[in-house]
Symmetry: C2
Subunit: 390 residues, 2 copies
């Protein structure tokens, strides 16, 4: 496989780490990134790929690509926020929600004239030497997408249909390539399925739920199930210690809060930062989750591993320590063809961070999806379907 060029939509924790981890992986070249207020695009590499399309002796993308180190430095602790956030301490929409309906409209709708700050806190990508301010970051990436093999969508999805709608916009532009998301919610899969025909027609291979869970751990469950002819139960239990990563992952924490008893997506979305802090204080920094609506269930059912209802996801998030409060474990219980019952397990070392376990697999699924896409395999796939498909 030739070098894969990829873009990242969103430079919050996941987006930025993806750029970072990709530097350690072979055959991946970051060519574009965007946030609420800006884009960074290596137009030279994209131009040269277009010029040489069809000829396999083309200039390799590895000759170029974004200066990731510079971009990361510029955006570290400096996530672009919308005008609402900039103008007050209790925002109507949370910090990194430019993905959500209101935020996206603010970014892409053209109705905002004061949003872009060129430097300092909240500037985001435009604080980078490679950054260009724009009112339409996602559209700007789409405009260059014919040189991009794959796009990782690292946008928070507080509006369920936002990521599906982003996919649709790529399809409207006849994008031929891979879209990967790291979404969590089961119901989003169906929304993507509704758009499958549109995506197929465009030549898009969409892989959903390709982070840690769903993603890494879903794949592990699909694999661990291979001893069995009947899977009875899949239990995914995760531990995350997020002290030093807390600032970068506020969006993820907010999404997690929506899984707590008494909360839902709407209430979590409307909480102020102060309210979130109060909630976290109340729990001494440690939130425990049970029966989370995580797409692992739907993805495993799609992959033919078991029924969605036989999958449970839970875990413990501690935002006041970096050590994991519990060991991340996937347990798959089933019956073998010769009638024995057993439980296979997959465990992640406590030393491996959530970030490592999201971003490595996300890029892995991305590369796998590029191969599928090149083979003409279009449509919507869950992470576990990209597995051997036992």
């Amino acid at each position: 496989m030739d070098d894969v060029t990829f873009a990242v939509l969103g430079t919050g924790g996941i987006g930025r780490r993806t750029l970072d981890v990709a530097q350690h992986k072979e055959g991946l070249t970051a060519v574009a990134a965007c946030d609420r207020n800006g884009v960074a695009i290596d137009r030279d590499v994209l131009e040269s790929r277009r010029d040489s399309s069809g000829s396999s002796g083309a200039r390799s993308a590895s000759d170029g690509g974004l200066d990731v180190a510079e971009l990361l430095d510029a955006t570290e602790g400096n996530i672009a926020s919308g005008p609402e956030e900039a103008s007050g301490s209790t925002p109507a929409t949370p910090t990194d929600d430019y993905a959500s309906d209101g935020g996206a409209a603010a970014v892409e709708g053209g109705g905002v004239s004061d949003g872009v700050k060129q430097a300092g806190e909240d500037a985001g990508i435009v604080a980078s030497a490679q950054g260009e301010p724009t009112d339409s970051p996602i559209d700007d990436v789409i405009a260059e997408s014919d040189g991009i093999d794959a796009v990782l969508i690292a946008l928070p999805n507080l509006e369920h249909d936002f990521i599906p709608r982003v996919a649709e916009r790529f399809a409207d532009a006849d994008y031929e390539g891979v879209l990967v998301d790291v979404l969590k919610r089961s119901r989003v899969i169906g929304m993507l399925d509704d758009r499958e025909e549109t995506l197929e027609k465009s030549g898009i291979t969409f892989v959903c739920g390709a982070g840690a869970t769903p993603g890494f751990l879903t794949g592990a469950a699909a694999l661990a199930a291979q001893s069995f002819v009947e899977v009875e139960e899949v239990e995914i239990w995760w531990g995350v210690g997020l002290k030093s990563g807390y600032e970068d992952n506020r969006g993820t924490v907010r999404e997690d809060i929506a899984h707590l008893d008494g909360y839902d997506i709407e209430t979590a979305r409307e909480m102020s930062e102060t309210e979130i802090e109060a909630l976290i204080d109340e729990h001494d920094g440690r939130l425990e989750f049970h029966d989370m609506e995580h797409a692992d269930d739907v993805l495993l059912e799609r992959a033919g591993v078991c029924d969605a209802e036989d999958v449970t996801v839970g875990g413990v998030l501690d935002v006041r320590q970096d050590e994991k409060p519990t060991t991340t474990t996937v347990s798959v219980t089933g019956t073998t063809f010769d009638g024995e019952r057993g439980t296979n397990t997959f465990q992640l070392d406590d030393a491996t961070s959530m970030e490592a376990n999201v971003n490595g697999p996300a890029l892995g699924y991305l590369k796998a999806a590029v191969r599928r896409n090149e083979a003409g395999d279009y449509g919507v796939y869950g992470a576990a379907e990209i597995m051997p498909g036992f």
Copy 2:
């Protein structure tokens, strides 16, 4: 994906269990099987698939297929053996070596007139109501192969190049489909690579090493590696209790013996059954293996997970108990992008048998390969490459 039709070459332990496990899996129809002396082929299903090729409204293969229960009953404890075995107690070639050079020549070369026994011990497939005696079982399957989506090669490979040569024969017949093997030895991969162009031209997707190890555990290692940007060590450690399965797996045990200190493939191949029993007695039924030449190393290197030399395979085989003498564990040690060192682990429940762990994954890889083949993805792949390809 439509129903997958598949054939099994070899009805020793692995071949027979594959037929058995496939009954529990969705979308798999066994249409052919062969052993040294005979074939069982559902010509009706194959005929109807050829008649309807191109029309997706075809009669489903699930309407037919071999009567697996009858075939298994007929071959249980009744493995076809060659004329040498039938004529004396110390065979020149071991019981189930029709796969090896001499055996294959005897089966397929046409020089043998007395070999086929129609019933009773050692008759094999011809003892089944579906069995037909033949001097050229593999050629007979090849002759029908245009209705067969995938072929699992469950032949012992005491001659290293036997399976590669079987693949070549399918290519010579312009077979378009999947070949899967469960071979163990690292060096066979290179022999398959030498034939890659021939296989590609024919339209063959060959997946090698798709059993338990290599196969299931190699895939687990590739997955577990996803937390890391640098993998330092992969340790595969297996336990097998083979008391009740011993008779069916003599070929496998013989292959394992070749991994013991002081033994190699040639010496293992030339041992009589009596000598093997004596060796097993000497070890009280429990053989411990270290630094085995298992293809996991080459397969993980091919998949870009780590260097072959960083992979170690070992384990304990106990032929006098069914309980596993040690827990099968895959340990992957590496460093994360954020500089942490850790070990992720994958463990199989002791209750899952070797047979369950070979045949489930083998069929899983087979199905995955059919999808690749249908997408026009031809050539030689290791099991770990069929994984997401992180």
